[in-house]
Every structure is written in C-alpha cells, then in structure tokens.
C-alpha cells in the first residue's frame, strides 16, 4: 500500500495524501478481518476440542473445503426441490445469488418509490390522508411473514410473491418514515422558498424532496436486512429457487455443511448490498456525512 515503513503519525499523514487516504480503509479492513477471524478461530477451536459436532456444526474449514461438491446444489433455474440438479459451477452459485438479489432489489425499489409517493400524497391531499393513514397504521405492525399466505394466494408460486413480501416489509415503515421526514423539514426552508417566489411544485421538488431523501435513505438501509430475511422465507416456502430454497433443501437433507455455506453467502451478499447502498448514498446525497452503521 505504501512504501513508507515509518509508523503512521499525524504529521506523516499530512505529508503523504496517499497514505492519509488509504490508511483508514486499511485499518477498517484489518479490524473487520480480525473480528471475523476471531469468531472463526473460536469455532475451529471448539471443533478441535471436540465440543462442536462436525455433523451439526461443521467449522469453516469443513464447509468451505469441497466447494465443487457444494456448488452442485445450486441451480439457478431450479424448480425441483431437493434433488441434485443442473447446478455445479461457480456461475450457478452466482446465478442463485443473483435471483435472490434481484428479488430484494426489485422489492426495495418498488417499495421505496411507492411509499414516498403515498407518504407525500397523504401530506399533500388531506382527504387521501384521512382515508389511508388509519389503515396504513393498522397494517404496519403485521409481520411480513403473515403476508406470506396472502402473497401465495394472490401471486401463486414464483418471483412475484417474493418481491411482494420484500415490498410489504418496507412499504408501511417507509410511508410512516416519509410522513415523519416531511413533518421534520425545517419550516424556515419552506418559508424562505415561498418568499423567493417558489410555487408549491417548486417547493416540493427543490426543497421538500432533497430535505427528506437522506432520512429516507437511512430508513431504507436499516430495513435492507429485514428485506433479506423476508426474501429467504419466501424462497424457502415456495419460489423454487434462490438462497432460501437452497437453505431449506439443506435442512431437509440434513446437510449442515450446505446450511453454513449458504449462510456465509447470504451474509456476504447482504454486506455487499449495504455497501452498495452506502455508495449510492455518498454519490447521490453528497451533502450528508456518511453514517457509521455497519463495518467499513
């Protein structure tokens, strides 16, 4: 990273912008590796001491040992639950991850856009608000899992119920967050815009929208993990493909190695999703300091 072997001090950082830029990243990668490494080490130690049954809690060196064997269970086009299928390559694993990610992504996208539109409509059109807000407040606490049968009744088996569940898992929360954000827009912003001659439409597009987006994005990120949980449940129950389906199959076939391998993939994918959202947040909402939720 740096050809400088001196210890990093404040004065050194000032002199060499390259080090100043990379050092924090290197540090956080170091801590992240240590954090995961300690956990893995403890697990391996427990196996070595014989505390952890390798059939039930196989440590990483076992479930990561025979990757091609594991890959066989990943079939991106899988409709046949349980059997070994056409999977088997690294790309079929990526395909399975891709399906789950696509469902999460579409659900989040539709949910985000729809909830902001509905939230804004509630605040802007009084009658619409009076008609919908009580209903939304009542539906909000219902767990997305409870919507699963409804999703299958309405959409059948396949992608739509999974996307619908992700949508449901963020929609109500995000509507309420939108209302809270709109109410929190400083009055002075709106008053100043009015004084400078802005129309209602201009006030919305150029003041209210940029003022509420950062908060909504944080809410979206916090609900990302919830969305991942929900999509796995949907896939396990009845989509026929995706990481959730692989997990369910592994459970049914008592394949502990596959369970942990899939869990690792889920963790990594969720982490990458969060990083992607953070990147979008930094680029699109540049005036907001990046928050410190999550590693790195």
């Amino acid at each position: 990273m740096s050809d400088n072997s001196l210890p990093a001090s404040a004065s050194l950082r000032r002199k060499s912008p390259g080090v100043a830029r990379w050092l924090p990243l290197a540090k956080s990668i170091g801590w992240a590796s240590l954090s995961i490494g300690l956990f893995v080490a403890f697990w391996e130690f427990a196996w070595w001491r014989g505390w952890a049954n390798p059939l039930l809690l196989p440590p990483p060196h076992i479930f990561l040992a025979n990757l091609t064997e594991q890959f066989r269970f990943f079939d991106p086009n899988g409709e046949r639950i349980g059997a070994l299928s056409e999977g088997g390559s690294f790309f079929s694993v990526l395909g399975v991850i891709g399906w789950s990610s696509l469902r999460v992504f579409l659900g989040l996208l539709i949910g985000f856009v729809a909830s902001v539109i509905v939230g804004v409509a509630i605040r802007y059109f009084g009658i619409f608000g009076k008609l919908t807000l009580p209903l939304i407040t009542m539906l909000a606490p219902i767990s997305p899992v409870a919507w699963l049968p409804v999703a299958i009744f309405v959409f059948g088996i396949g992608n739509p119920p999974a996307i619908f569940l992700v949508f449901i898992s963020i929609f109500f929360v995000m509507v309420l967050a939108t209302l809270a954000q709109i109410d929190a827009v400083p009055r002075h912003y709106i008053q100043l815009a009015r004084v400078m001659g802005a129309s209602k439409r201009q006030i919305f597009l150029r003041v209210i929208l940029p003022a509420i987006l950062p908060g909504l994005f944080v809410t979206l990120r916090m609900n990302l993990f919830g969305a991942w949980m929900v999509v796995l449940i949907a896939e396990a129950v009845g989509v026929g493909s995706g990481l959730g389906q692989v997990t369910m199959m592994a459970r049914n076939t008592f394949n502990a190695s596959l369970v942990f391998f899939t869990m690792t993939l889920i963790g990594l994918t969720g982490f990458l999703f969060d990083q992607a959202l953070r990147l979008i947040q930094r680029k699109v909402l540049w005036w907001i300091q990046p928050s410190n939720i999550g590693a790195l």
């Binding site: 002075h188 008053q191 009015r194 004084v195 400078m196 001659g197 802005a198 003041v207 005036w287």
Partner: protein
C-alpha cells in the same frame, strides 16, 4: 404611499382554541423607503409575529399591512427575510444557495452567475462559492443568507434576530457589514432584536415593544452618524433610556409568567 405601512394590526395565535394567545395588539408603524428601523423588546413580545405578518407568511387577525400602497397578502421577493439561523439548504453549494431565488425567477444563466459572483464578493465570500454550507462558520453562513436575500433586489429586508447566534466579535463585524450593504442597496430594514447595543449601533429609529401582547411603548430616533461610539455620552444616555423602558416590560413579563 411608498414604503411599509402597518395599520392597527392585531395578531392572535390559536384564536378559536381554548387558549388563544394575543401576540400583537393594535399596532401602527410606518417604515419609509431606505429607513433602518429596529424593533426592540423582551423575548416573546410578538416582534417576530409582526415580522411574519409583514413578510406575508402569516395573516393578521385584524388591521392592514400595505407595501408601496398595495396590501400584503402573500410572500414576495421584494420583502426579503433573514432568520436567526441562516437556514441555507444543505444540499446546495453556497453559490447555488445564493442563486436559489434567481433560478426560481428564471432568466439568463450567464447574467445570474455574474450577479451571484458580485453578491458573494459583496458579502466577503468571493472564494467560498463552491463550499458546502456546513463548511462555513456561523458568520459566513449568515452572510451567505444575506446575499441570498439581496439577490432578489428586495425593497425591504426583514431580519429576525439575525446575529443573535453569533459571538460578540463576529456580531460587531456583521453589523458593520449590514450597514454597508444597507447603504449600497437603498433597501429599508426592519430588524428585530433584544440587544440594546445592536439597536443603538444600527437604527435610524428604535421602536420599543411592550411585553406580550406587543404594543409600541416608545419610539426613539437616532440621528448620530455611523459608525457610532456606543461608549460616548449621547449613546450611553440612549442606552439608559432603552434599558429603563425594557426593564419595566421584562418585569411585567416575569410577573405574568409567575401567575401562570
């Protein structure tokens, strides 16, 4: 009639509620074009309410406000507004903040950019146009807010305790700045403050308010040329007068609060 004319204005907050709050009662005040008027009074005396009514952001419960002979019904760029906190939009650069009103108005982008540059230099922010508002100090932010208001070529600047959040040194500099800008622009200023020194340093005319509901208790014209020496005998006399007038009102306000 040119200038600002406030006639018999009363304002009651929450008039139909169980606990109506009279903010201003039967207030009459004229501000001539180019005049610098300072509203001085204890906090919560309705000075700010009056400013909002003049801005057109709130309706008076009764009475009329006219500007250059026309009744004030809604906000207008000719009545610029400045709050205690700068309230710059954090998602815009300083330059875009100053140009916000101009971009609403439309017009040639080139001419707009030129005007923004001129304004930024005028308030001493020539090099800070591309910064984010949160990179500026409090005084710089308030100067950017001033430039944003001036961009609309206002005929009157309404200022609600504009320097109250700044430290004393910055405050004095900002007051000098404001006087220079006021002279150059020819706009009149209606400035709310609870600081006697600020009123004495700035005003052509000080209007002392009573405790809530706000009424005019006294008007003091100051002819002394600026910059004024606040430690000179004339200013010290005026300061004592203001202090005496205010002290009565503060006592009244406290007694009222104790009754509650």
């Amino acid at each position: 009639m040119l200038g600002l004319s406030i006639t018999n204005v009363s304002k009651v907050w929450n008039p139909d509620g169980p606990d109506p709050v009279p903010a201003v009662t039967n207030l009459t005040l004229d501000v001539k074009p180019g005049e610098f008027v300072v509203l001085l009074g204890p906090s919560g005396c309705g000075k700010s309410s009056l400013l909002y009514i003049v801005a057109g952001l709130e309706d008076a419960t009764s009475g009329t406000v006219t500007f250059d002979g026309l009744p004030v019904k809604e906000p207008s760029p000719e009545r610029g507004l400045i709050f205690q906190e700068a309230a710059l939009f954090p998602w815009l650069s300083v330059r875009d903040n100053v140009g916000f009103g101009l971009s609403i108005k439309g017009g040639q982008p080139g001419a707009r950019a030129e005007k923004i540059d001129k304004l930024l230099r005028m308030v001493g922010l020539g090099g800070a146009g591309d910064k984010r508002p949160d990179e500026l100090s409090g005084g710089m932010r308030q100067r950017a807010a001033l430039a944003r208001a001036l961009a609309m070529d206002p005929k009157v600047l309404l200022m609600d305790e504009p320097f109250a959040a700044l430290d004393i040194q910055t405050r004095a500099r900002m007051q000098d700045h404001l006087l220079a800008i006021w002279r150059a622009s020819g706009a009149s200023v209606l400035l709310v403050t609870h600081s006697i020194d600020e009123a004495l340093a700035l005003a052509d005319r000080i209007v002392v308010f009573t405790a809530r509901p706000g009424q005019i208790k006294a008007e003091i014209s100051i002819d002394a040329p600026r910059p004024r020496d606040l430690r000179g005998p004339e200013m010290i006399d005026l300061a004592r007068r203001c202090e005496a007038l205010l002290a009565e009102e503060v006592t009244k306000a406290f007694q009222e609060q104790e009754l509650l």
